[in-house]
Symmetry: D2
Subunit: 343 residues, 4 copies
Amino acid sequence: MASKTRIAQIGFGYWGPNILRAISSHGDVEIVAVSDKDKQQLAQAGRAFPTAALLDGIDELIARPDVEALIVALPAGLHFDVTKKALEAGMHCFVEKPLALTTADCATLVELAAKKQRVLMVGHTFEYHGAVRKIKTLIDAGEIGQIYSIIAQRMNLGRIRQDVDAMWNLAPHDISIALYWLDNAMPVSIRAQGFSHLPRPKPLADLTYLTMEFASGAVAHVISSWLSPEKIRKVMLVGSKKMVTYDDVNVETMVQIHDKGVDLNAMPTPDYGEYQTLVRSGDLIIPALRLTEPLRVEMHHFVDCIRHGKAPVSDGESGLRVTRILEAASESMARKGVPIELK
Amino acid sequence: MASKTRIAQIGFGYWGPNILRAISSHGDVEIVAVSDKDKQQLAQAGRAFPTAALLDGIDELIARPDVEALIVALPAGLHFDVTKKALEAGMHCFVEKPLALTTADCATLVELAAKKQRVLMVGHTFEYHGAVRKIKTLIDAGEIGQIYSIIAQRMNLGRIRQDVDAMWNLAPHDISIALYWLDNAMPVSIRAQGFSHLPRPKPLADLTYLTMEFASGAVAHVISSWLSPEKIRKVMLVGSKKMVTYDDVNVETMVQIHDKGVDLNAMPTPDYGEYQTLVRSGDLIIPALRLTEPLRVEMHHFVDCIRHGKAPVSDGESGLRVTRILEAASESMARKGVPIELK
Amino acid sequence: MASKTRIAQIGFGYWGPNILRAISSHGDVEIVAVSDKDKQQLAQAGRAFPTAALLDGIDELIARPDVEALIVALPAGLHFDVTKKALEAGMHCFVEKPLALTTADCATLVELAAKKQRVLMVGHTFEYHGAVRKIKTLIDAGEIGQIYSIIAQRMNLGRIRQDVDAMWNLAPHDISIALYWLDNAMPVSIRAQGFSHLPRPKPLADLTYLTMEFASGAVAHVISSWLSPEKIRKVMLVGSKKMVTYDDVNVETMVQIHDKGVDLNAMPTPDYGEYQTLVRSGDLIIPALRLTEPLRVEMHHFVDCIRHGKAPVSDGESGLRVTRILEAASESMARKGVPIELK
Amino acid sequence: MASKTRIAQIGFGYWGPNILRAISSHGDVEIVAVSDKDKQQLAQAGRAFPTAALLDGIDELIARPDVEALIVALPAGLHFDVTKKALEAGMHCFVEKPLALTTADCATLVELAAKKQRVLMVGHTFEYHGAVRKIKTLIDAGEIGQIYSIIAQRMNLGRIRQDVDAMWNLAPHDISIALYWLDNAMPVSIRAQGFSHLPRPKPLADLTYLTMEFASGAVAHVISSWLSPEKIRKVMLVGSKKMVTYDDVNVETMVQIHDKGVDLNAMPTPDYGEYQTLVRSGDLIIPALRLTEPLRVEMHHFVDCIRHGKAPVSDGESGLRVTRILEAASESMARKGVPIELK
């Protein structure tokens, strides 16, 4: 494929400019159009991409024959309609997470993309993060052993959303990390709790807890919050052989590999019931990482999948898995934490 | 009361020596007896307290007329029987947490202590911790505003217990801290989850999550783990006015008072559903603390309550509250997280 | 002044693109020319500033009548010649630190700028840093008391320079911070030591220590290194009333105000010669900072000084002071640390 | 040697109780006497060691035939006289650092100990520290390569001394660490600077800088301060192959081994004078340490040297080396940093 891939983007709000900047650094793309209902945002896009057409709606964009691939960076509630139209018009689609708000909608998009033979990719950026990938190589090499638990915390003060709750806003990142590490296994049971503290007209949970149980015995717990004194983006991974922490906030010591574990001994102390456990605590290794910007890796991957006919790492199926989990979690949350079994 | 208070202790294992050392630093006590079934432990006690009688069982201890107050530092399963006998024998009792394994047993002990007019105190050490108390004064002064949430993490590698799970072992500390801050309010709803990963003959949860909902809207989430790469002892408190972190591992910056919050504005942005929220992020204050050893403050408090006829801060009722919560949590855990309403 | 200020830059290497990006964000400037001997760098400049003329030498640049102000971002050894020519041609000049390599050259530039009534500004970026300025307001408000000492560390692995040693490369930042805090007082005595460990054909000190004594009794010690395991950019300020740390690497806790000090008591303990000192250790305050990019503040200040006829905070005199100190320090270093008195 | 070693101590002030506690944990010692001029301190010693004779001066102690070994924990100015008397009386001697205040006095003690065939040991506690020893094994194994530089910082608020300056008080630790790592090589050149900021009747430097140059090219810089906002006890070691930090304040990450360095390339960039250096930055390793209390290791070593006729690691010669360096440093300090050559 000699010519450049012609890209358009719909939505140029909070995160949109970053996506377009990231994809435009790929040598083989041309930004042909940007659409946004906000005039100011559109003007900003015009300054950054002087040759792009500036549009204010979806229909005009879909009608353009020069757009090969569309980036959907709209609020989650609009993902399905816009992506469906774009796929039907024969465009490849990159959709910000979550892919859509229901499992059924995600399935429709996945089927449509297959039928139309178009790339459908969802913005699970962390699957392209050097730290997350480094840990995946450790898991695949057997260094971690059996995965016991994952505890993910994504907490900050703000940005308070009005369209989705903190779980739908923040947890997709951690769910996609967990599934990526667990070879895309789906959990067998989901529990979630959500609490809304801010006195808003339409309350949405600002603090949520999600638990995923896997058939392997692994358990992942995800804490999401918009009301935290500290900015925390941390995942702890406990395996039978080693334990790993990934702290996205501390660049210098982002991944820490702890040579720690518990060796069990069959002979308990008779009277006091204390297990004779041998706690092993060895060296801590902080590997050097090649930290290319994940968003850039992700967007270049989208272009390369289009140009070389490859399936993305975070494909439509991946987006469907995350939405199915969120859907079950919302049901559990509505029923105060009752476990929802996934078939 | 001119003469010294005569103290005995039953159980001189892992934590026992610290308790006895702490209480013996009070000027008005005399250590008259120590009991332990382990000969080596007993010999160690003898070296540290040469004038104390060394015994190997409870009955001999109960029979001694010279013991005014008994410290019960046994495995949790033995607390009830021993404490009951001691109270019946007219001894004041200090019992390590949890007070007993059932609400009914706790209630029996509380009633017995009242009837016998003896001090019954439970070892909720953190209620005597300078950091926890400093935060309580902030709450009482109205500086935190309405309490939205408490997130407590108590995680480490080991010590693996065989008699109780990680929740019964570790969460009493965090439950007692939460109740202390919330003026001894009881939660209205309890949810808990527990997971056992270590391949043991008799599995006990090594990772647990506990959620307490209070009538005020406050929510406390407690994570307890024996299988963590890092030693974490941290409590985050989010209020409507300010937010506080208490990190027991970092002595220099243990309490951090964040002048942070969210001010809501009624006018949402029309199209994109983003709330116009004003995030307020001001100075961070790390108050100087007077960090007297909490165990010492606690044990001296026990002596002073005996000598001056006062009710302890962590009295039998306090122990009963914590056990009632743990009991409900265990029921929720057994039923995979179903909420248990407390009446 | 209605029209835009027409800016050119000579040198578009390591740091040059950042400077030009920073100044171009000012609404009232126009980038008219960029000069660099490296074709690749020049091409990069062309992509970023499509309307700028691309030149490869100084003479062509100086000859252009459309350039009102020149940014000199060349190696330090070229600063003097280029800046002199530009001032003579009537251009305002912004010069990266150090202004020039000798006190005499700096004085020539200062005089020339005065004679030509042109703005001469030197790139002491940290004088425009929110943290440095916050501390200056504390000093001016009397909160720090008498300044006892400043200890500055600027250490990293690389970038190894071949034209100047680590002191001339790194210490200008810390010298300018110290002078800024001390109201542009000049030290009365300078000592310096330098050590070259890398086996290079032309050795230059990769580790240097500089001490400046001021008439007020204040002492500043500056450590500069290219061979450090950790990236350290930290300044400690000790005053008679309070102590402050400024840690540029830790964004969340960048400025820390310690309410600490020593209160002396005239009565020493008779026998053992220990002073009865009362160490005061109060709250730690971490103020919220408005951290606008310092380079942007600096470059906009340059534009504003040109447009409104103001003298820059880091003017030619400021550059002269820093070079005079470095010159004396180099003399001390060559004589193995002998103090050099400044008149 | 079957019987216990009979130990006495003179000086039971600030640090004295820790020393005596540490040595008394050795199974083969008996504490026979403690001497202190302060009645309260002596009473405290009596409570801790009920069988020890309590004395109030040196002569009575020296006269006792039952004392085999004396611990001298007095102010530095009294070390020489007391140790000399004790050695002459045939006692083994452990002397707190510094051994004595002059090189001549140290030499006298070393000779006397040799003549009397008694153990003379100085309290360079850090030579017995697990972290310092771990780094020594790395150096000996060739992992660090050629040692380029050592930068040691020992800073805190207080304890302000009246008998010695901050350098004599704090630097002995860092000097002994540096010499220990450098195989007891002596520096060839010493420079020091000291500054007194506290307004005291008899000023002593509260902030000092010491530089030691070694024939190997290694350079050690030691910063000592009583007036610091932070408690810092940190040593950085830069070698040609690896770099190490030892941070005594952070227990969890005390020793950090950085696989970092600079590989030089002979071809400089022609125009801009930047060396084409290849900075190597690999994994960071934090080794698990066995952190037995150094003071305990040290005091047991003293006992073992006595009982088995061994020379201590920190013997009299070691004490002499440190005092000779401090003596030269004080001369340099008095002459404002002029280098003092050691023959």
